[in-house]
């Protein structure tokens, strides 16, 4: 496949994921899924999986609370994975993931604050006129066209034109900074996990956090094991609460 075909396919996939993000919500838009699929299109599933894991961990704790928008993980993962596949190294992904996510977030704010407010007004006008076509256009069709213009087209341009220049810039950056980015990337999960802890608004469950941590750190139990321990903790808490209720 030529780069042109790949760029078009990646852009179409982008549009699909954004359709999913706003409609069916099958979660195809998370980095862990987006990474390998873009990798497949670009001809390097392994690289896709690697980048998908890196960015998924960066944004693991990303919680959509109320109306505040988190950094745009989908847009970021798609471009970062494509760059990584073209250059053959994850360094590009590490260096570009966070800036791209912030650019995507700005695009999303523009969509929600300007474009979709405009369609909201058009929707109200369509209702007054009794136009069924107007309702469908402004509820479903226009928002998806916005996604195409705001996200899929930039993805196409970035993949088709951007990889070369980005690689050139990465080549200029000294190795010590690239290594530093990898180190920062390893630490960044802490922010997301802290954000999750902050968002879970339940009192007096701190020691469960420590149970999970100590089993993992001292006993080196893998995440599947930790999940099983979590299930046991829930069961203990459930029966303790129930018995308290009886007594």
């Amino acid at each position: 496949m030529s780069l042109l075909v790949k760029a078009i396919l990646v852009a179409l996939f982008t549009w699909l994921t954004f359709f999913d993000k706003y409609c069916t919500q099958f979660f195809t838009y998370r980095p862990i899924v987006v990474g390998p699929i873009v990798g497949l299109i670009m001809g390097d599933v392994r690289m896709g999986l690697e980048v998908g894991c890196i960015i998924e961990l960066m944004f693991l704790g990303q919680v959509f609370v109320g109306t505040a928008l988190p950094p745009e993980e989908t847009f970021s993962t798609i471009i970062a994975t494509a760059f990584a596949c073209i250059s053959g190294s994850t360094e590009v992904a590490l260096a570009t993931a966070l800036p791209l996510a912030i650019i995507g977030q700005i695009g999303m704010y523009f969509r929600n604050m300007v474009l979709c407010v405009w369609t909201q007004h058009r929707l109200e006008a369509a209702v007054e006129k009794g136009s069924r076509r107007g309702i469908t256009m402004n509820c479903i069709v226009w928002p998806n066209i916005f996604n195409l213009i705001l996200f899929a087209v930039p993805v196409f341009l970035a993949v088709f034109f951007g990889a070369g220049p980005v690689q050139a810039i990465i080549n200029v950056i000294p190795q010590v900074v690239i290594d530093g980015l990898a180190i920062g990337g390893g630490m960044i999960g802490a922010v997301g996990l802290a954000l999750l802890l902050k968002c879970i608004n339940v009192k007096n469950i701190w020691f469960y956090f420590l149970i999970g941590f100590f089993f993992s750190s001292f006993l080196n139990i893998n995440p599947i094991g930790i999940t099983i321990i979590a299930v046991v903790c829930v069961a203990v808490a459930y029966y303790t609460d129930r018995d308290k209720g009886v007594a």
Binding site: Y22, I135, L193, A194, I221, T227, A230
Partner: protein
């Protein structure tokens, strides 16, 4: 007398009730629920679009339809899967309003608004705050364990998240239509929501604790010589408690967010900069 009965029968036939087929139609239309999300009326476009099959079915004249569409273009915001419960309840209210005219149409929006809060609370904490990070973390660790060759993790992630999400939508619409508002009331008064939230919080805290060690990496390459032996600071720290630095750094982030109201995106940027500067200085 018999004539009266016949008249009643005829009237009943004239009443427009939603069939199961209509509810399935509602389920399909409601897939577009978050499309058109905006900062003025939030999920109103999606709600309006979802109600098309209901409004077109139950109302006969154009003015009633217009009124119905108009009230759904008002602000609505809750978690996008549990919102389908509200859609189901609203379908039942619209149907009743059209057939029996015994409810104040204003109350439809009032009930929608009353359901937003509790549903958003459990939706965000159970689905996005607990299930998604746990399954995503498992998927990532499966991919890493296969040395980036197996796509089983992502497939399981998709199946679980899409499956649970669509089941919530399906049950929301069908149960919401059937059981109505009382269902949420009963759930709240029985304390079920509170209990569920607490248990999910426990599961999430346990797993997040494990993730802090697995997915946050901080190593200090610095070492010093004591007599004949070279002592690495990192192995000294690991000797006390493995993963001490990731734990402390995570708690620091939490403290900055809770007490200093730090913006998470800024903290992410700062973390990257710390990584670069720390590495330049030779301490990371």
């Amino acid at each position: 007398m018999a004539e009266n009965e016949a008249k009643k029968e005829a009237l009943k036939k004239d009443l427009t009730k939603l069939s199961r087929k209509d509810l399935w139609k509602l389920y399909i239309y409601s897939q577009g629920f978050v499309s058109g999300f905006n900062y003025e009326k939030q999920e109103a476009p999606g709600f309006t679009f979802s109600m098309i099959p209901v409004i077109e079915k139950v109302y006969k004249n154009e003015e009633d339809k217009k009124d119905a569409y108009r009230r759904h273009t008002e602000l609505f915001l809750t978690e996008a899967r549990l919102s389908h419960f509200v859609i189901g309840v609203t379908a039942a209210m619209e149907e009743r309003n059209a057939n029996e005219h015994d409810i104040d149409p204003v109350s439809i929006n009032a009930i929608k608004a009353a359901l937003m809060g509790p549903l958003a609370g459990i939706g965000d904490s159970l689905y996005h705050g607990t299930l998604r990070p746990i399954i995503a973390g498992l998927a990532v660790s499966m991919v890493m364990a296969s040395n980036y060759t197996s796509v089983l993790g992502p497939i399981i992630f998709l199946l679980v998240m899409a499956g649970v999400g669509q089941l919530l939508r399906y049950f929301g619409i069908f149960k919401g239509y059937e059981k109505g508002v009382e269902f949420v009331g009963a759930m709240q008064s029985s304390g079920l929501i509170g209990k569920l939230t607490r248990l999910a919080g426990i599961a999430a805290f346990t797993v997040i604790g494990g993730f802090v060690y697995k997915f946050v990496t901080i190593n200090i390459p610095w070492s010093y010589t004591a007599g004949e032996t070279v002592v690495s600071l990192q192995s000294t720290l690991d000797g006390i408690m493995p993963g001490m630095l990731p734990l402390l750094y995570t708690l620091l982030m939490l403290w900055l967010m809770n007490k200093k109201k730090a913006n998470p995106v800024i903290l992410m940027l700062v973390t990257m900069v710390i990584g670069i500067l720390g590495h330049l200085a030779g301490i990371l």
